[in-house]
């Protein structure tokens, strides 16, 4: 088990840097995790992060990339529901990187 | 289709469920499911009633291990491990009822 230090508070993560307790997440932690992934957060990034958190809240799973892409297209507009758009924001994979920043577990089936 | 069952019908409804649901085919009883094919057990009647629709096989080593190889109900075929493999190979699909 590892941990990260954000704003004077310690948060437990797994060996790959995913937050253990997603209820501890806050935007500050999100920003910190984004830095560890070398992702510069913009409104577009936050839109995806917030979407992921809402999705998890509702279904208790992190969506597979294909499912995320489709759902984003439905919710935020077809121009954003493409893997080009999402990989543009999160070069190492929207599933892997965005889920980590959102404080979610790694999506099932994502290795 | 080959249906493989490994639980005693007296403690688990897997075999009963299989008999009630599947349309027919092969049934192989292994591990604790071999008790289903022994004479005098409370499930014997249901197994016998299903023999028209299903071909029942019993894995001999599991039966022997439980000291019941001399009590197999009539109409059930005893198979060894090679026979197990043959059953799997002879069927297009195989369902293991857990």
């Amino acid at each position: 088990m590892s941990s990260i230090e954000v704003g004077g508070k310690s948060y437990e993560t797994d060996e790959e840097g995913y937050l253990i307790d997603l209820s501890e997440w806050n935007p500050e932690v999100g920003n910190y995790l984004a830095q560890t992934e070398n992702v510069e957060m913009t409104d577009q990034h936050w839109e995806v992060i917030n979407f992921l958190r809402e999705y998890f809240e509702e279904y208790q799973i992190a969506p597979a990339v294909r499912v995320l892409t489709k759902a984003i297209g439905k919710k935020l507009g077809a121009d954003k529901g493409t893997s080009e758009y999402l990989y543009g924001l999160f070069p190492y994979g929207p599933g892997k990187q965005a889920c980590k920043i959102a404080g979610l577990p790694k999506p099932t089936g994502c290795v | 289709m080959l249906h493989i069952i490994n639980r005693s019908p007296l403690s688990d409804i897997a075999l009963e469920s299989c008999l009630n649901t599947a349309t027919g085919g092969d049934i192989l009883l292994i591990e604790d499911a071999v008790y289903a094919a022994t004479s005098g057990n409370a499930f014997e009647g249901k197994l016998r009633a299903a023999m028209g629709r299903f071909k029942i096989s019993v894995l001999r080593p599991d039966l022997e291990a439980r000291g019941l190889s001399d009590r197999v109900v009539e109409g059930a075929a005893l198979v060894d491990y090679a026979g197990f493999v043959e059953l799997v190979a002879a069927n297009k699909t195989c369902q293991s009822w857990l």
Binding site: I61, V67, T108 | T23, T93, Q95
Partner: protein, 121 residues
């Protein structure tokens, strides 16, 4: 993928008492990524997996039942529940957390015959 196979997942165990229900769900979610023809069957105690209103805080196990509502987004739309199993447990379709197709034992058996692969949990 050119070769689409018919995969059926047969769920016969209640949730939480054993790990089977959760394991099945995870395998289903992974299989869904491979564009196969996936059906889910809930029979015997497996119908309890579909029960609405599961609250697992008190047993400190993750409540995975909301994930069944996500299956639609994974293009897993074929959910079948055995009527006899529901009846035997005092459940009706209104008790279930997603829309399902209710089948008789005979219909279920016929559906199994159509499959290429059957995985039992």
């Amino acid at each position: 993928m050119s070769d689409i196979k018919k995969f059926m997942f047969v769920n016969r165990k209640a949730p939480y008492g054993t790990i089977y229900a959760l394991e099945s769900l995870e395998v289903v979610l992974i299989t869904a990524a491979f564009d196969q023809d996936v059906s889910l069957v809930f029979m015997d105690d497996g119908v309890y997996q579909m029960k609405k209103g599961q609250q697992t805080k008190g047993i400190e196990i993750k409540n995975f039942s909301p994930a069944y509502r996500a299956l639609d987004g994974y293009d897993v739309e074929k959910l079948y529940v055995d009527k006899e199993s529901m009846d035997a447990r005092g459940l009706t379709e209104d008790d279930l957390l997603v829309d399902v197709t209710v089948l008789s034992r005979a219909e279920m058996g016929a559906l199994m015959d159509e499959q290429d692969v059957i995985l039992s949990f």
